[in-house]
């Protein structure tokens, strides 16, 4: 067995970097702190790749099955004899894969940020937060037990909050960070409830014990029924609620578009590639429980995923802020991954959905980070977020143009780019299990191609917009990550995921399902050509269409009024009918009791303060008469 203890450094390095940059960052030169953060990340990336190589290829596995390894573990809290919370590093196919994905994207974003954030105030603070985020994300990925995952889950939330609110002078950024934090926190409450129910039922937190198909958690799971579903199912639904919040699935998606107030590299790293897929990772991590003990919860996963992907794709067609389009696209793609998990079975070809989901997760991380970094380069050049103020940029930004095109083709599922392979596997899995969900996802694939190329054409083609100055290509630190990620997005499809990351650790064979693949490419091309017609040259078709479908367009443009609905529910219902009475109770009953105790004491003391006259002999008289009285009383009562 190969020793994997060094993987603990993958977690420790970013943490040390965070402490160094956070405490001493303002004393260092900004450039040096950026280089330090990036250098640390380079080491982590290297370590992750070494780990992946050793895990997948250099370890002699029995039965050709990848098993989970606990690389390091310490007991942190001993609750009872059996129940304890550990901190450690767990290696299995999905966590190793996530280590590689997270560290790669994070590394790219670090390099990019050196160029993008140059001359920003708080440069070293930014890198400190990025390190904190990387630490918590890697800790989440490598968690050995569900409680460690929860701890890092919250840490990820905190660092996301800090990074969204990075421009804390901007009120909108502050509002967005608060919104993101509160919404995800609310969802995490569900996660915590789920953990508690689960651990109460199974008496363990440990992932290996929990997800062992022949272990006690699954064979003795179930438990009592409540509202027609077993307790296990309920706990898994609650756990999934946490995933819904982090992954911005409907109905907790409202924070993600607003989170785009943060700096663009942050959007690329956290709100596209890594943090938002934590929900998918969570479900994948608990997957055997979902499959064996809680199939109903898996249905919920599938339908929430499908609905979110459709919902977000429609909204994405109407937005004009490029980062918001990308945010909704992220939500839509994560919906895909959730759906793939939802339709998956366990083991062999049945587990295609699981593999497809993880596959799509890694390709998505590549191409979506690429898209965001491209949009950062565009915003850097044009100083605007709105695509109505862009056009004809292909002449000015050749590298960005090329990489953006690659990313768009990838997300649209055009072969031979990686998105084609992963999306095709998802569609194939859906096709095998549920024709309705397949139809939904098929439509979403077309819509995705449409809105991505709407974005592409209106930014890079069409008439030149009025610019303040001639847009210029971004510096080398920004374009190099773009090119590397573009290469990743283009060729990651050839990684044989069905050999590496499977639901039970054993490789299985897949072949192209042409029945699914050809139509999916066709609908992608259809979406692209519709976008071509509408946005290649400036035309009035989009406006005319918008006016024909005036109401539905407005509906979608305003994100189906979800924000308004939330405001209505919170302000009009929760605030008025719950918070106001509770506040009244607090102010009048709880505070009232305390206040009246204070008032009574005060009144009484004002009454009796006259006794303290300063006359020594009055005191003495009171003392002597009191003594005599007590003596008489004692003498008579003692008898």
């Amino acid at each position: 067995m190969i020793n994997f203890t060094y993987t603990i450094w993958i977690l420790l390095i970013p943490f040390l970097m965070f402490i160094l940059l956070g405490l001493a960052g303002h004393k260092l030169k900004p450039r040096l702190s950026g280089l330090l953060g990036t250098g640390g990340l380079a080491i982590i990336t290297l370590l992750s790749y070494i780990t992946a190589y050793k895990y997948f290829f250099a370890t002699p596995w029995t039965d050709e099955t990848y098993k989970a390894i606990t690389a390091a573990n310490t007991v942190w809290l001993q609750l009872t004899d059996k129940l304890h919370i550990d901190l450690g590093v767990l290696l299995d196919p999905i966590s190793v894969m996530m280590l590689v994905v997270v560290s790669t994207v994070s590394f790219m974003v670090h390099i990019y940020s050196i160029g993008y954030m140059k001359d920003e105030k708080g440069f070293e603070r930014f890198f400190a937060f990025l390190s904190l985020f990387t630490f918590s994300m890697l800790g989440l990925v490598a968690a050995t037990n569900i409680f460690q995952m929860y701890i890092f889950w919250e840490l990820v939330g905190i660092s996301s909050y800090l990074l969204i609110g990075f421009y804390y002078q901007k009120p909108s950024a502050v509002a967005a960070s608060k919104k993101a934090f509160i919404v995800t926190r609310f969802a995490d409450m569900g996660f915590l409830v789920g953990i508690l129910i689960l651990s109460f039922n199974t008496k363990t937190f440990d992932f290996i014990t929990l997800t062992d198909p022949s272990g006690p958690a699954i064979t003795h799971g179930g438990g009592a029924a409540f509202l027609g579903l077993s307790v296990m199912t309920w706990s898994m639904i609650f756990v999934y609620m946490g995933g819904v919040g982090k992954s911005a699935m409907f109905p907790f998606h409202i924070w993600l578009p607003d989170a785009m107030e943060g700096p663009t590299p942050v959007s690329a790293l956290i709100h596209a590639a890594t943090m938002v897929v934590a929900g998918v990772y969570l479900v994948a991590r608990m997957f055997p429980i979902y499959v064996f003990s809680a199939p109903a919860a898996l249905y919920v996963v599938a339908y929430v995923g499908a609905f979110s992907s459709l919902f977000a794709a429609i909204i994405a067609c109407t937005q004009t802020d490029i980062k918001r389009v990308l945010a909704y696209s992220t939500m839509s793609q994560i919906g895909y991954m959730m759906l793939a998990l939802g339709v998956s079975g366990y083991g062999g070809h049945e587990g295609l959905g699981f593999t497809a989901s993880m596959f799509h997760l890694s390709t998505h991380a590549m191409f979506k980070a690429l898209l965001f970094l491209c949009s950062g380069a565009i915003i850097h050049a044009v100083h605007s977020n709105y695509m109505t103020e862009m056009g004809g940029l292909r002449k000015y930004l050749p590298i960005t143009h090329f990489t953006f095109l690659v990313a768009c083709l990838t997300i649209s599922g055009i072969p031979p780019f990686s998105g084609f392979f992963s999306k095709d596997e998802i569609l194939a899995a859906a096709f095998d299990h549920n024709k309705f969900l397949f139809a939904v996802e098929y439509a979403v694939a077309g819509i995705t191609a449409f809105y991505m190329f709407r974005l592409y054409f209106s930014i890079f083609w069409g008439r030149d917009a009025q610019y303040h100055h001639t847009p210029h290509e971004a510096p080398l630190t920004m374009t190099v990550p773009l090119i590397i990620l573009a290469a990743g997005a283009a060729f990651a499809g050839f990684i044989p995921f069905n050999k590496l990351v499977t639901s039970n650790g054993q490789a299985f064979e897949t072949e192209m399902e042409w029945v699914v693949a050809i139509p999916s490419v066709l609908i992608g091309l259809l979406g692209i050509s519709v976008a071509w017609v509408m946005y290649k040259k400036t035309s009035d078709i989009p406006d005319r269409l918008a006016s024909v479908f005036r109401y539905s367009y407005k509906w979608a443009y305003n994100k189906f009024y979800m924000d308004e609905l939330y405001l209505f529910v919170t302000k009009k219902i929760i605030f008025r009918y719950i918070s106001v009475p509770v506040a009244w109770f607090d102010r009048h009953i709880v505070d009232g009791t305390m206040n009246s105790i204070a008032t009574i004491t005060q009144v009484v003391s004002f009454r009796i303060r006259r006794f303290q006259s300063g006359q020594l002999q009055k005191y003495a008289f009171a003392f002597v008469s009191g003594t005599i009285l007590l003596t008489i009383l004692l003498i008579f009562l003692w008898r």
């Binding site: 006259s613 300063g614 006359q615 002597v624």
Partner: protein, 89 residues
Amino acid sequence: MFFVGIYGFLTRRNLITILMSVEIILNSVNINFMAFNRYLFPNKLDGMFFSLFIIAVAAAEAAVAIAIIINIYRRFTTINVEDVNEMKF
């Protein structure tokens, strides 16, 4: 004799007189101790020692009290207790 002391303590306004009343109280207690010791437990000496203690403590107490009275006189230029009434709410 004890109540003569108490009476003086409560009625006199002069601090020196109050101090003298206190001494009278102490002396009355001393005599009581001696008398009770002699008649109730003739073979024990506890009461005697108590009296000796009280005499010693009374001497110290008198010194302290006179020091206080002198300070009060310096502060208020009077030794009348009714005029010394700053310690009130």
